[in-house]
Symmetry: C6
């Protein structure tokens, strides 16, 4: 444990939601033309929907894009507006869930002292700051939430703040990005056509073997040979999906296995707890995965 | 990205709900006599229901009508009421959802300082301002909401504000307009006859090919040839509806495709992410749509 | 648009709920002995249930009765109570819905300044003012509401205000009137026998052709020939009910058609948007209705 | 309309819940030994459950018993407690419904000025006042309510006021009386055995013909011949129950019919609106009832 | 009615929840070694679950044990802690129901004057006072409640007060006792294994005939012959359980019958209203019970 | 009862949630390499999921690990940060249930005096204190809770505090540990793949016989022979699981049996109330268990 040296004074950090920006370039390896598509959409103010399985890199991709999209910052100098610098975009991420209400996104009144004070929610903050607002797993949210974003996705780019009877127009740079996992969707939790047809859609999948090995090596510290074996194993496990596995192993789980190996856990045991036991509770499926593991890490 | 020049001072705009009016004429191409029907209904104080699929232009039509309906504004001069100018109607739009309550529309008490203050909701504001109040996808709202609008639709044009035990008569110019999408309705989410029979109904569909091409060209910047091809493709895709597509491609998606092309994305890729992937997650249906795309953009 | 002359000062009107009375005689044409029955019930303090389909005139009938029932108003003169005038009864109407609670009817505490203040609900106001209280579509309301009205319907005519631990006896003149539409009722939304058996029931239906034509002519301004044709058409449409139409066309829709005709819309088009499209989204049923329309307005 | 003479000053009356007592003897004709059973139970502090159909007189019976049960009132005179008078018992009636919570019965905190003040609910008031507390249709209430009354029904006669962490022992004279209608009960809305077995049960039915006729004559003003005919008719209608009638006609409806006849409505019409239409919406069952009516009132 | 002599001054009594102790020994006749088991569990700090049918004496047993378990009370004298007396344990009883939340047991914040004040709930009071806390019919409570008691049942005996982010360790003497009725349990309302396995279980049934007769005689005042007949009858009625009776007659109902007889009601009538009608609404089952009654009280 | 000597002054203890640490080493006997796996995960900041049946020792294991994981505490001395001591980790445990909301974990605003004050929830406290946060039976919690923990489990280790629009980065030492019991899971209450794939998984089972006997002897005070017999019995009872037993006997129940024996209860009776009756209400299954008991404790 090395980072304890940050000491007792600044033991934990905190940010305002709309101030959060990646300080260094997020590690992301493009697979296709997704970077160009996203940039074109952002320039055209066309909202974006990202589809793909758990842990395939959608969140990292949005962080990467926010870091690389630049926007001039204007300051007033001698009575004139001049560009001071190009800054990357702030990124406001909201993990949606079935109790997420419109108020959670837009804001609410809170009693402070003797007055009720309006507190902007994360979506309102993104609209005002011209940030990218990323609603992760949007179908999980309550329906008032999905309807709320409709006027933000048409030509007016307007957020109605119903509790204040106000309309707010998004600042330049603002882009609405949502994600969902088509593998999960049921009839009950599908994205309504009236919502879908407000976004272009970019589909994601697990990265190809070489890319994935590079990511695993970079993130866990194992060498490329071990990382390639982990990526190979993941491919085979993903092919087990017809045999009772509801979803394939994510890249994140491979990184976990790599990290445990770096701490001295044997490859087979590391893969057992990071992949086989993590993915399923079904003894038979666990055994199939463990056979895959054994075939690679003899 | 051009509009960033609006600078740091007025980085985002906001309006009171009832002050919102289109500053310039909304772009709308009439298809039939819908403009005359709407004007007659407004003049007769007969509420209007707009039916039609997602993205066929209902919202834009209401904006267009609000812009073109004029109402004299009276001011007091030398103790007399004189007409100062003809102004277009304000438009109050509410996107309905299943958590929308009567209070969200009518208003509520809020604690402010040491007193509770009544804040008018958007419907009350429209009633007082003599605005057009457009309740989009009204069947999504909770039942108390649909009952609430009943007394506004009969000869008395009255809004009961139950929390204040008050009745409010609508100002001249006020018109209630609601929309719904018959393709979506289920037994559970149908408009009750006691509500339906308070409105005349105007049915909408996607615009004919030439009209749609003109709209796409105007909104995305592509030339008429490309726009016509996009409209042709949309027609064919809409005919796929029997093959597992729950709804046809909206005009908005065609505009998205056009915008991406303007940024240098190839037509096929632009149509794939704007139409095929946007409409469905089903691989087979996606392939059918992509065949349509290829047949037009070779 | 003629009535805009009411100017900017009194652009909208408002009343306290219990002050609302029709200023002029509501237009109502009796069909049978319903006026005598209602007057007898009111004189005997027997509550009344009105049954009938959407838009057959129940609400107008109650307005008409409230206008015609007289009650002496007493003032104190020289230390004595003398009758000053006979005034008609105030009418308090509540449109019931599935979120309507007992508190919505009886009243609630609100924070005002530093104190919570009790605000009477519409039912309490009607009880105190000796008004007719009309609960429209009462089965829609929550169950606590229907139980609440029980003690008001027995010999004690008492309203329990549970939040204040008080009992309130109704002032003379008070009568409870409820309505429901037997065509709608399901097992879940039926009136409980313990509620039903507290009311006499008057059944309503659409008015006979001549009466209906007179109403349509009076309300829309069309001449009697056109009005009679509209009434004829309505009769035929109502007979289509076995063919997939859940409810017949109300008189109100005929009035809408008449109004549009008065603005220059052709009879067939006016009937299409006011009747065929208003009643149903089913193409086949719409076509049947349109055939009826064509057979009358050639 | 005769009673308007109460004038403008005391136009409506109100009581505190626990002060409500019948001023004159409620009209009740005993059918069996129910009066002795109830008095014995009250003297033994054994809670009572009344079973029976809608409108058979359970509520009136409890009012009658409360009027006839006497309790000494003590006052302090010369430092001693002396009996001043025998007074009848106050009666606190609560109509239960499915939103009735324990707080509605026990009490709640309300903000008043700068402090929250505890307001006793009707059950707490009855416990303190030594009143009869009558919970009408108790199975309708929420489950917390039925559990709440358990400790009041055992040897300790204690009411736990959970919000105040207090236990309250009932004053002498207090008796818990509940009612329910076995004809209504479903599996979901049955009285739990753990609740039932805390009460003795007295079963009620409609009164025999002579008794019912006497009641109808007394309450509506018709003579005994007419009243006997109404009672005869009711007997026959109750026998129709197998033919689709969920519950027989209550005595109350016969009184309504009598009252309308006293105002000049013909017997057949009075019975139609008070009995046939009041009991059911089913045309066939209405016809059967109307045949019964015609056979008696030729 | 004899006890009215308590007069107007102390007409009702109240206690703080944790001060409630039986003043005299509760009447309880042990059936097996339940007293020793309970005492051993209390001494070992092992929580206890009591199983058994309605009205078999579980609540009385807990009152009896609380009365007989002694705990030294320490006072400070001359700077030293000395035992002043042995006192019996306070008993905090909570009747669980499906709306009972964790806050109802643990406590909540209330606004008092200008500050929110924390009010301990009954469980917190029992934990602090070292009382026996008896949760009656615990499966009825909401799930947060059953999880809440988990840390109180392991070696740490800790109550987490989540709203205050505090952990509270139970004072010596505290014991958690819960009850449930296995006859009632459905799949939905079963005690989770993770809860069950935190308690030893003592099973109860109705007392044997002689014991039950002694209890009935003691509590109702009838002589032993009559009491024995009542106990005999109860045995026979309990054997009817296969014939549609969901639960046997509790001892409490026999006591009710005895009390009514003491007031002069005949044995048959007393048993009819206390047993037959109290247990069931089914005419056939009532008749079977009445035959049992007649066979004993000829 | 010996510990009563703690007297009247400090009769119960309380801690702030994040200050709670085991004062002495928790008694835990490792079964496999679970200690090394957990330590590696904690060092790599990889979240951990513990799977296993009720009462198999998961909670005790986490307590043991928290006690043995050390973290330097820094203090400022002469302007420099120096390590003062190695302290073990605080442990924040939350028993999840179906009403547990995100606010319960993160914190909420409370009115205090004239201002609303934010109170950190247990998860926020753990994040700030660098504690182990153990969410027991996490699938029981509401969905917003499981989504909430997602950003804490990726590379950013961030807790979004939505109500304050803040992001909080976890202090060093923080680790998220969750548990669930695969035997319980239903389709409705399964851990979503998008949650599962954020944790390595360690599977637990009941300890082997010798280990379990050692634990029982240590905790209950019985000698190793009796403890071994109890462990043997448990093994046999666990094998009955196919015969209608939903879950095997936990080690805790064996300790209860041992404790009762220490108080003089016979082995058979102690096992009956601690194991047979505790595990099930089914008479047949109870008999099978009792046969197992008799075969060992003759």
């Amino acid at each position: 444990m090395t980072s304890a040296a940050d000491g007792t004074v600044a033991q934990y950090q905190s940010w305002e939601v709309e101030e959060f920006r990646a300080l260094e370039e997020p590690y992301y390896v493009p697979v296709s033309d997704e970077v160009e598509l996203f940039r074109s959409a952002w320039e055209s103010k066309v909202p974006v929907l990202l589809k793909g399985p758990t842990g395939c890199g959608k969140t990292r991709f949005v962080e990467y894009m926010a870091y690389h999209l630049n926007r001039p910052t204007f300051v007033e100098r001698d009575g004139e507006q001049v560009i001071e610098e190009e800054s990357n975009l702030p990124l406001v991420t909201v993990a949606c869930h079935e109790d997420l209400t419109a108020s959670d996104l837009v804001g609410r009144y809170l009693l402070e002292g003797e007055e009720t004070v309006w507190i902007d929610g994360p979506l309102t903050r993104a609209v005002k700051a011209g940030a990218i607002c990323y609603l992760d797993e949007v179908v999980e949210a309550r329906k008032d939430t999905t309807v709320l974003i409709h006027p933000l996705t048409d030509h007016r780019r307007i957020l109605p703040i119903e509790k204040k009877s106000q309309l707010l127009q998004a600042r330049d740079g603002f882009l609405l990005v949502i994600s969902f996992n088509p593998g999960y969707q049921s009839a009950l939790k599908d994205l309504k056509q009236s919502t879908r047809q407000r976004f272009i859609s970019i589909e994601f999948d697990y990265p190809p073997r070489e890319t994935e090995a590079a990511i695993v090596a970079h993130e866990s510290g194992v060498d490329m040979d071990v990382a390639t074996n982990l990526a190979k194993m993941a491919e085979k496990v993903r092919n087990l999906r017809e045999h009772g596995l509801s979803e394939g192993a994510s890249t994140r789980l491979l990184i976990y296995a790599g990290k445990l190996m770096q701490r001295g856990i044997t490859p087979r045991r590391a893969c057992q707890v990071s992949v086989a036991w993590a993915l399923t509770d079904d003894r038979d499926v666990q055994r199939s995965i463990e056979e895959v593991i054994s075939s690679i890490f003899e």
